[in-house]
Symmetry: C2
Subunit: 203 residues, 2 copies
DNA sequence: GGATACATCCCCAAAAAAGGGGATTTTTAC
DNA sequence: GTAAAAATCCCCTTTTTTGGGGATGTATCC
């Protein structure tokens, strides 16, 4: 019996997955969590074979949670669950140790395929060929933690000076980060930076 | 018995809603569609009391479909179903004749409340107070044609000088537009301007 | 006809960002 | 333990934005 745990903050998705997974002969949903905290709470006393993990959680980033879970419970496989357009996070999930990635609009068959692939030691990265390609080729100019932090504050309208005060670092450092961001995302100013960042769901 | 029809291209959401709605004593899901076309096909020969309608459909915009359905079948109420961040579409849905609006991460209770409100001739616009306010009061800080034109170019990363050249107007004029944009959207610089503009789907 | 909104233009000064360097210390990864 | 990556800091100059004014012609709406 494959024990599956679902982490998602959408009641509909939890219900939907539970119903769909009932049709799989050798699997059962042993529980679910709507926050990262309650997920970690569950695994302190229970276990599971596969976690279906949403990236957007209210209290913590799904990627971080994935990293934490994989470190603590290396035997539990993780399949990321996201919406269609969040390309940029996929690589993060892969780097965080996930074995698979499913789109939220996946069919029952796809979910079945993914679970079977992962439980047998394999991996499952997307159904859509084109997306898979665009991840492997494109390989995303991945931003660092600090850069993303600065980027978010920039998009909120803070100036370098304000950001420096907020993060307790020098203005020149913030300026460096901003320059690196502009360079990495190949834009020419802050306005375009914010647009590209939002379009690629980096913030 | 309240007859409910679900339109969404996510199998999980369909399953989830079906399961959740089973708990409502006086209602039943009479069918579902994953495309606008199949939805219209259904209503050629069947009927329903309420349609739970996703905005993102593969073949047509949910807002357009809402307008079409309301015109053809005025007795069928429509509750829009969307993700959290698509604020700008809500007004479109309201104008298209929808009676309610639900977030996809709504709880069972919220869905129940919304359906009851609508079936009794009322309406249900969001659970989140702050969002409801921002729609009713705010009611669009409407930008002029020219301002939107400038805004788009700003978001592309063009400087005032470049925009002026592109539109064959003076730099000071572009500057005025930019100032008005910042003032109208109540932000303090271009970075925040671009973010807010994208969030509200103005560009 | 008069009010109103829109688009256009101008001045000035201060603040911030952009563009070009380079350098050091911490973390992280193997 | 070492190499690479990330985060930190500094210099300089030029360009651009921001913030405060104000003004004029032209549609548009009632």
């Amino acid at each position: 019996m494959i024990k599956i745990f679902v982490v998602d903050d959408h009641p509909m998705v939890i219900e939907g997955l539970q119903t769909m997974l009932l049709r799989l002969p050798d699997s059962e949903v042993v529980g679910y969590a709507m926050t990262a905290a309650s997920c970690l709470g569950y695994f302190m006393h229970h276990t599971a074979d596969i976690i279906l993990l949403d990236i957007n959680l209210p209290d913590q980033n799904g990627i971080e949670l994935c990293g934490t879970l994989r470190k603590k419970y290396p035997d539990t496989k993780i399949i990321a669950l996201t919406n269609f357009d969040q390309l940029s996070y996929i690589q993060g999930m892969r780097d965080a140790g996930a074995q698979g990635y499913l789109l939220k609009n996946s069919s029952f068959e796809e979910i079945d395929t993914a679970i079977n692939a992962v439980i047998n030691g394999g991996s499952y990265w997307l159904g859509h060929e084109d997306i898979r390609e665009s991840i492997q080729e494109h390989n995303q100019p991945l931003l660092t933690r600090r850069e993303i932090e600065v980027l978010k504050l920039v998009a909120e309208g803070l100036t370098n000076i304000e950001i420096a005060e907020k993060l307790f670092i020098s203005v020149t450092t913030v300026d460096s980060h901003r320059k690196n961001l502009i360079s990495k995302l190949q834009v020419k100013n802050t306005a375009a930076l914010v647009r590209v960042a939002i379009e690629n769901k980096m913030i």
